[in-house]
Amino acid sequence: MDLSLLIIQALNGVQLGLLLFLVASGLTLVFGILDFVNLAHGSLYMLGAFICASLTFLFGNFLWAVLVALPLTGGIGYLVERFVARPLYARNHLDHVLGTFGLILVLDTLAHLIWGPAGIAVPLPHWLDGQIALTETLVIPSFRLLIIGAGLTAAAGLFWLVNYTRLGMLIRAGASNRTMVAALGIDIQTLFALVFALGAMLAGLAGMLIAPITEASIGMGNSIIITAFVVIIVGGIGSMKGAFIAAILIGLIDTMGRSFLDDIFKLAMSPEAAETSAPAVSAMLIYIIMALVLALRPQGLFPPRTR
């Protein structure tokens, strides 16, 4: 097995994991603090990608597009919170799920109306489009390094926000005792709206970062949301630390699995059997992991401390 291939795929796995973390963190924040299950979170990921794509064509510059698209996506998140989530807080999780399912249909169709059925490729500026040589034989596209950097920065920023700022303290307090925080005179509604918008921005950022590689397309939200669910189930619903570790883990397992599973299988079975079974098993791998975690540790790997 080629060492540089291994390292490159490991880096790809980390990259996927960081993107997954960006999506999952918003999901777990909203679920952990607002107790709201937002199926349409994936649509925010998709809208971030599309808005950034359009703005890139408008401005001619990818980075400016990202900077403008971020608050726009946050704004959409705020609108979703205000008009869809807020009326449903008092309801059952089933209502959340089916209500946001309806929202997905609406947002997907809107995207279709605005941007058409095909995907949109997002062009990168020259300086981001190149390759960087890490060593003599190890070369990775510089954009992927940017993604990893952006992902780590966002993760660090979130960690700092939740643990070291007043807003973060309110978020954590609001999570464990809503009425108390409200009684202290803190405006719970604004707090929730902020958290929702933050989650939307994180998801949108992930979409913007992946779009230059895989295109902005309509179905992208619906597939990432399930993977994000797997991440937060494995990590422990409501736990940021759990989401981070689980996301990296799942990103690595998924990427390395797809690349190397057939080689691993070839150690134990015939090449033909390995070639036919490996793609199938690697497609199911992260779900098998999820099932194992559920069987052995149903609350997830790093569940948040219960009040």
């Binding site: 679920f31 299950v37 869809v84 009326p87 449903l88 309801r91 059952n92 999780h93 089933l94 209502d95 799920v97 089916l98 209500g99 399912f101 309806g102 929202l103 997905i104 249909l105 609406v106 997907d108 169709t109 809107l110 279709h112 109306l113 619906n222 597939s223 399930i226 669910f229 797997v230 189930i233 619903i237 793609p279 199938a280 690697s282 497609a283 199911m284 779900y287 999820m290 099932a291 559920l294 069987a295 149903p298």
Partner: protein, 324 residues
């Protein structure tokens, strides 16, 4: 006491109309409505199956479309090999192999995934059923031989004695009779001792456990029955469309099924059928206006959730059938 309750009369009338109108349309040259009715009946079977665990059992499974899809592929894959070779032991268009295969595969899948899912509750349960459905989707898509993303075109229907499934009237007949059987089966199960336990657990799980019922085992059994019935519906669907697509198992299909059950009247015999009818009618009407019909449809769904009295859970808990 009259022979049928009021609700019974409504059911009888609806099912009679469903039996009679489509063939009439067909024979007067409107094949379209017969096709619609066939598709409706098949969807209704899936909705009736979901109602067993959702309406009567209170288990919110967001992954039932996977059973339908698996059932369809259980028809498609043997047919594919029969047409194009390979895997000789599986290559057949005999209905006597394909249909039992559909039921067996989906029952097994339901058993394995249900065993894991049912150890969880609430939103975890919802998410995990979605995840398992997605897993099957990705599994199927990863197998290039069976068309991957593009799906499987088989263009040939199951061979059954006495019935020619290529005849639209007979295919409809099979779908309709299957629906009747499914409805009666679910009705029987929910009125039996097993059904009482299932419904009791929906109402108050802790009470049932304290009484001594191993609720997990009862729910798993219901889950397997429900999955297998959906698998049968999938086998019919595969025969109807002769084009088996992984889209059949997309989790948004599960959402549509759930709406059929909840809106039509959960925990009733006719409810899922009414829900399926409503869904098909809305789909047809809206899509005749615009190809972007998912937009008003999604808005409708959101409206129902936002404005339903007591929310969907209220609808879910709401009505009981007469005589219970």
């Amino acid at each position: 006491m009259s022979f049928l309750t009021r609700r019974g009369w409504i059911s009888a009338v609806v099912m009679a109309l469903l039996a009679v109108l489509p063939p009439v349309f067909f024979l007067t040259g409107n094949a379209f409505y017969l096709d619609l009715a066939t598709r409706l009946s098949i969807l209704a079977i899936a909705a009736v199956s979901l109602n067993l665990i959702l309406g009567y059992g209170g288990l919110v499974s967001f992954g039932h479309a996977a059973f339908v899809g698996l059932g369809a592929y259980a028809v498609g894959i043997p047919a594919h090999h029969w047409l194009y070779g390979g895997l000789d032991f599986l290559a057949t268009t005999s209905g006597f192999v394909q249909v039992p295969l559909a039921v067996a595969v989906t029952a097994l899948f339901a058993l394995i995934t249900g065993a894991v899912c049912l150890r969880t509750k609430g939103v975890y349960f919802i998410m995990i059923t979605m995840a398992f459905a997605q897993m099957i989707y990705y599994l199927i898509v990863s197998i290039e031989e069976y068309g991957g993303d593009d799906g499987l075109v088989i263009d040939t229907r199951s061979e059954l004695p006495l019935i020619d499934l290529d005849n639209p009237l007979q295919l409809f007949g099979l779908a309709y009779v299957s629906l009747l059987v499914a409805m009666l089966l679910v009705r029987m199960i929910t009125r039996s001792r097993f059904g009482m336990v299932l419904q009791g657990a929906k109402g108050n799980e802790e009470r049932m456990v304290t009484l001594g019922f191993n609720i997990y085992a009862y729910r798993l059994t219901a889950y397997v029955i429900s999955g297998a019935m959906c698998g049968y519906a999938g086998a019919l669907l595969g025969n109807f469309t002769t084009f088996i697509s992984p889209e059949m198992m997309d989790w948004s299909r599960s959402g549509e099924l759930m709406f059929m059950v909840i809106l039509g009247g959960a925990a009733t015999t006719l409810g899922p059928v009414l829900g399926a009818i409503a869904f098909i009618v809305v789909e047809e009407i809206l899509s005749s206006f615009t190809i972007y019909w998912h937009l008003p449809f999604g808005l409708m769904l959101m409206g129902v959730v936002l404005f339903a009295r007591g929310g969907l859970m209220g609808l879910l808990r709401g009505r009981r059938e007469d005589g219970e």
